[in-house]
Symmetry: C2
Subunit: 217 residues, 2 copies
């Protein structure tokens, strides 16, 4: 397990801090707003109120001993840049920073950020890539034009056999796995009958996916 500092506990930062804590990592959350720190105290291992641009304060908190850090501040671009630079000077090996736009992202990379994240843009692209059907609840781009998609089984095909729904067309859509409740079935049998809450994970070209979904309804 890692020792991680999360600086800036807004919507993005607080989600990262709480989820990493839940996965068993040792998380140090830092925010300059006392109200934010008090609200998050129950869900983050350690939460501290301080101004993260104060190098002495980061030193006293032991941030230099962290394996990695997340800088989740975009309201004040100057603060985000300063904190990223300080973390790399303190010797933190992996610094991931959220950027407001391309320019901010470029500066973060130049001062040493190991990875830059654009939450609004990435979520917008992901929504557009899973547009072909409202049954797609999420998708993962593999290469340009080819994706792995998570699909909620539509009403129309409940009760049907998998082999009848997803043929074995070589150029078509491939079924990778079926999730039923908390059970995951890799390469399910063609005779398996689909149930109401089943989730499918499919792979294929985006056009093929579109053709497949419009054939279902």
């Amino acid at each position: 397990k890692q020792h991680v500092a999360v600086i800036g506990l807004g919507r993005f930062g607080s989600a990262v801090a709480a989820e990493l804590g839940a996965a068993g990592h040792d998380v140090l959350g830092i925010d300059s707003d006392l109200g934010v720190v008090q609200r998050l105290a129950p869900s983050v291992t350690h939460v501290v109120q301080t101004d993260a641009t104060d190098e002495q304060s980061l030193g006293r908190l032991g941030v230099a001993d962290c394996d990695s850090a997340v800088v989740a501040i975009t309201g004040h671009i100057e603060t985000s840049i300063l904190v990223t630079l300080l973390l790399k000077r303190l010797g933190v090996e992996r610094v991931i920073a959220k950027a407001r736009n391309d320019l901010h992202g470029e500066i973060l990379t130049r001062v040493g950020a190991d990875r830059v994240i654009y939450p609004e843009r990435d979520t917008g692209l992901r929504l557009a890539h899973s547009w072909s059907s409202s049954d797609i609840t999420d998708s993962l781009d593999v290469v340009e034009g080819y994706a792995v998609s998570r699909v909620q089984v539509p009403q129309e095909i409940v009760g049907q056999e998998l082999g009848d729904v997803i043929g074995n067309r070589p150029d078509g859509v491939t079924l990778l796995l079926l999730a039923r409740g908390s059970r995951v079935i890799l390469y399910p049998d063609r005779g398996e009958r689909l149930q109401r809450r089943d989730v499918l994970v499919l792979a294929g070209e985006l056009e093929e996916m579109e053709r497949f979904f419009s054939s279902l309804h």
Copy 2:
């Protein structure tokens, strides 16, 4: 292909509008800021400056003929709620709206939004779920604690045979596909040798993934 209105062309809205346009959908972008409209004119099929809370104006633009719409405004929660309500009254079948926080999301659902999106929170969770290794560039949650991950092949295993790297342990990590350049190889052969820019798509329990990645380095 669909006829889609995207209202609010900030970071999220502009990414959705441009990408849906690139995929061949007929996109109508709407924003009240002339500067935004002019900047995006080259990358969105049709872009119009208007106040989206003006029902007459939405009517004149033919928004009622759209199959679906995206409301991407969170700076003024009242505007986002009004526009969502107007779209459903105009008869738009699928309205997807971005929310600033849970409360905003709950109101959007009550006024008829068919899907609510939280870009910052979702991106934060996704980052935490792919934390086990810096080789994971993205991941898709299938069920609680089980994910499909996209991985950049780490330097340490370049040149090795797939069979040696990813054993066939029943409880371990499963290789679903290998992407090389723009080519995708489903269920690659165990004798395949890994190359420098290869991308792997793996499935498994999050703990198994963590164990697998720490065994690589």
